[in-house]
Symmetry: C2
Subunit: 467 residues, 2 copies
């Protein structure tokens, strides 16, 4: 597996320096497979990606490599368990990617990877095939030079992260013993604004619901009936306003009951983050930021719960005029949740509040469309310190501990099903356009990230995980 005419490398760093071209070719090959999990037309591509990863794992020396069926796209499992007495880590990444529309906004074809201005540009470069590939190459460099890994390793690469969490949850539940480990490592997050090295220590959960307001069985003439019949769209507006005050506070009784308060230390940590409100505002393009009183922007998007209307519709949306009282009105709403809120309890409180706010001239109901628990790392866990040292060693700067506003449902799955402490060791840059056109990954993040992973396994080998 070494280049001809070059003396075999004897340490991982030398190996990585010798194999950069081959490594990039291998990454591009993986990025070329359009493994879009949400589109059934690409099911064959997803399977092809899984099989390519499995072949790679076999080639670099992993054991028990399996492309395992889940009912949806397969998972890829492999392990290497010969580091007697050392800890065992379970690595999670996903090989599926988001759809590519709007295609016309891509400056290069999404499945024809290129390096532009120091960025590997392709769908999946950052989220998450690029990060998955870093783990493959870290394992390769260790096994090729030392013949062994410093820790016991299990890898779990799934293909449904961008479409549905159900199949993985079932599969993990059915494979608890096989997946048992001392620590879980998830590489699907990223650095802080300005591409500053960071380790994510929390993500928000989510409740997604739909409010349906029903008035008359059919649209009514607004001339003949206007003034005497409740307007479902106006009733919905009153309900929404009763859920969230204009200053951003959420008005659902009990909503904040389980929210863990921010400690003074945490507030200080947030204050110390190099977060630029004005740069953030410019990024969003809004005339002014807004949000809950008493919190900084960086807190509002990370450790405070939210309520947003994601969609809303009623009556006539066409050109011109139509003089009706709409028969019904609807809103999709979602709450981002923080520890220790739960989707189920939040749903119950939301439903009670909506019913309380519904005027007598209409009826309303609330259906739950989805939910995910918030996640918080055990910051004091020794694996966190090991990860921090590894990132600092590879990137030359100690990582920030940051909070993610979005939701990663798999974290709750792994935490709950496997009872694992999780380290979120991710290398994407906030500017990487994940889920958007021109997704990319900073080439230096990719290269140094492989080093960070190797350092992390070395650090973990000498860490007392105090099981």
């Amino acid at each position: 597996m070494t280049s001809t005419g070059v003396r075999p490398a004897t340490d991982p760093e030398a190996y990585l320096r010798q194999t950069q071209d081959r490594r990039m070719a291998s990454l591009f090959e993986l990025l070329r497979i359009p493994s879009i999990s949400a589109l059934s037309a690409h099911a064959g591509d997803s399977r092809r990606a899984a099989q390519a990863i499995a072949a790679d794992l076999r080639g670099i020396g992993m054991d028990h490599v399996e492309v395992a069926e889940t009912g949806a796209h397969p998972v890829v499992y492999a392990d290497w368990l010969h580091a007697e007495g050392a800890p065992t880590a379970l690595v999670y990444c996903h090989y599926d990617v988001q759809p590519v529309d709007p295609l016309e906004l891509w400056e290069s074809p999404p499945f024809e990877p290129v390096v532009i201005d120091g960025r590997i540009v392709a769908r999946g470069a950052a989220d998450d095939k690029g990060q998955l590939h870093m783990h493959l190459r870290a394992i390769e460099a260790l096994l090729a030079t030392r013949g062994a890994l410093p820790v016991n390793l299990k890898v779990l690469f799934e293909g449904d992260e961008e479409s549905s969490a159900d199949h993985l949850e079932t599969w993990v539940g059915a494979n608890r013993e096989r997946l048992a480990a001392d620590v879980g490592v998830v590489s699907d997050t990223g650095f802080f604004e300005g591409n500053l090295p960071a380790i994510t220590v929390s993500t928000r959960g989510i409740l997604y619901a739909q409010i349906d307001v029903l008035g008359p069985p059919t649209d009514l003439h607004s001339g003949a009936f206007g003034g005497a019949v409740e307007n479902p769209a106006i009733a919905l507006a009153h309900i929404i306003v009763g859920l969230k005050a204009v200053d951003g506070r959420i008005l659902i009784p009990g909503f904040y009951d389980e929210v863990l308060p921010l400690t003074p230390d945490e507030h200080t940590a947030f204050s110390d983050l190099p977060f630029d409100d004005d740069a953030f505002r410019r990024e969003t393009g809004v005339p002014a930021l807004a949000g809950e009183p008493g919190y900084m922007t960086v807190e509002r998007v990370a450790i405070r719960p939210t309520l947003d209307v994601n969609g809303m519709w009623a009556g006539f949306e066409g050109e011109g005029t139509k003089t009706i009282i709409p028969a019904h009105a609807h809103a999709k709403i979602s709450c981002r949740l923080v520890p220790d809120q739960t989707p189920d309890a939040t749903y119950e409180r939301l439903e009670a509040r909506v019913l309380e706010l519904t005027p007598p001239g209409v009826s309303a109901s609330v259906q739950m469309l989805g939910g995910g628990l918030p996640f918080r790392s055990k910051i004091d866990h020794p694996a966190m310190a090991a990860a921090s040292r590894a990132v600092e060693s590879a990137f030359g700067i100690a990582p920030l501990f940051t909070r993610e506003g979005g939701s990663i449902p798999v974290l709750a799955t792994l935490g709950r099903e496997l009872q694992l402490p999780l380290v979120l060791l991710g290398f994407a840059n906030p500017d990487d356009h994940a889920h958007a056109p021109n997704e990319g990954l900073v080439l230096d993040n990719y290269e140094n990230g492989i080093r960070a992973i190797i350092h992390f396994w070395d650090e973990l080998a000498v860490t007392d995980l105090a099981r």
Copy 2:
């Protein structure tokens, strides 16, 4: 023009009794023409209807019959001006009809008229070809038996009432002298609930506007940005709630300034109307009626102004979930106006209120999509008393003076351009399904309506209009 073998009738009533079959055949012929003004595919049918009406007018002895171009569908004009010293009346009806969808809900084809359970069922039977035809047959009966009309008569039958008011307004403005009269008679309204004879004495005006709320230039991820960015859909909800209180009062400063207060007599008149709130509620299908405090339902839908959301949309409306903060949110809203409110002043106040209610994190604008002035008859005008006597004489019961919640823009046009007092002499029944499937006209209303028109001309001839 008389039936063979029957002695010619010497008075209109005898004439009408002798000619019922022929009259019904003529009505059906007119109803069979699908003169749908809003659909350009039916432009030829509209012209055919205009020509058929013109031929009818010539046949019964009217002068100066003309199918006049307007730029849209033609108007039909005719006159008979030989009643020296008698008042001159201008009759307005329209020969165009609404589209027929949903076609599958019609129990008989919309352009194949039939009489079912005492109702003439066809599109346009009530609104408004049936009422137009009543005027033709009243003129015929008078000229055929007396050789003269008791008053000078001008008829103006238009073909764009259901699509646009602009072309008629221009044509009327250009033909002011030709259309000059002492009184205008509009037959495009109807009776009270329960088919009780009624003369409409007011209609509401309208302001139709659209509110556009703009947030970020593109949808934002609700995880990454939720909590720090104003949600345009929630901002729109706050704006709507700031326009109308949950109890139905409109919160736009100055909105009610020009509303003429209800006099105690008017309130008593409304109280005396045989209006059944519960029957009205059942008709709408809502769980409970609603509306402005301090007014009866029959007042709320007739002489109080309203504000309704006719349509509303933002963000994601599809199946399932999409975790976005929508880039923009929109609402179509309309206000029904009462004397002396105007669309223009109401628009200005609405716009100022919306801007005042707009939170700093978004921008909002209001565009006016349409407007029409409210209309109120001169109830004390001697022509009103003449009309009342005529209806009572034909139907055996004195008509109620009622208010219409909807808007009839042509009333303002005729009133303003021609400076005419208007009598709204209409014969539809509230159950006639105008604009809806299975439109019909009560056969007795049609027959007695022709008598009422004849009585009205006779009454008007001996009325001092005190010009």
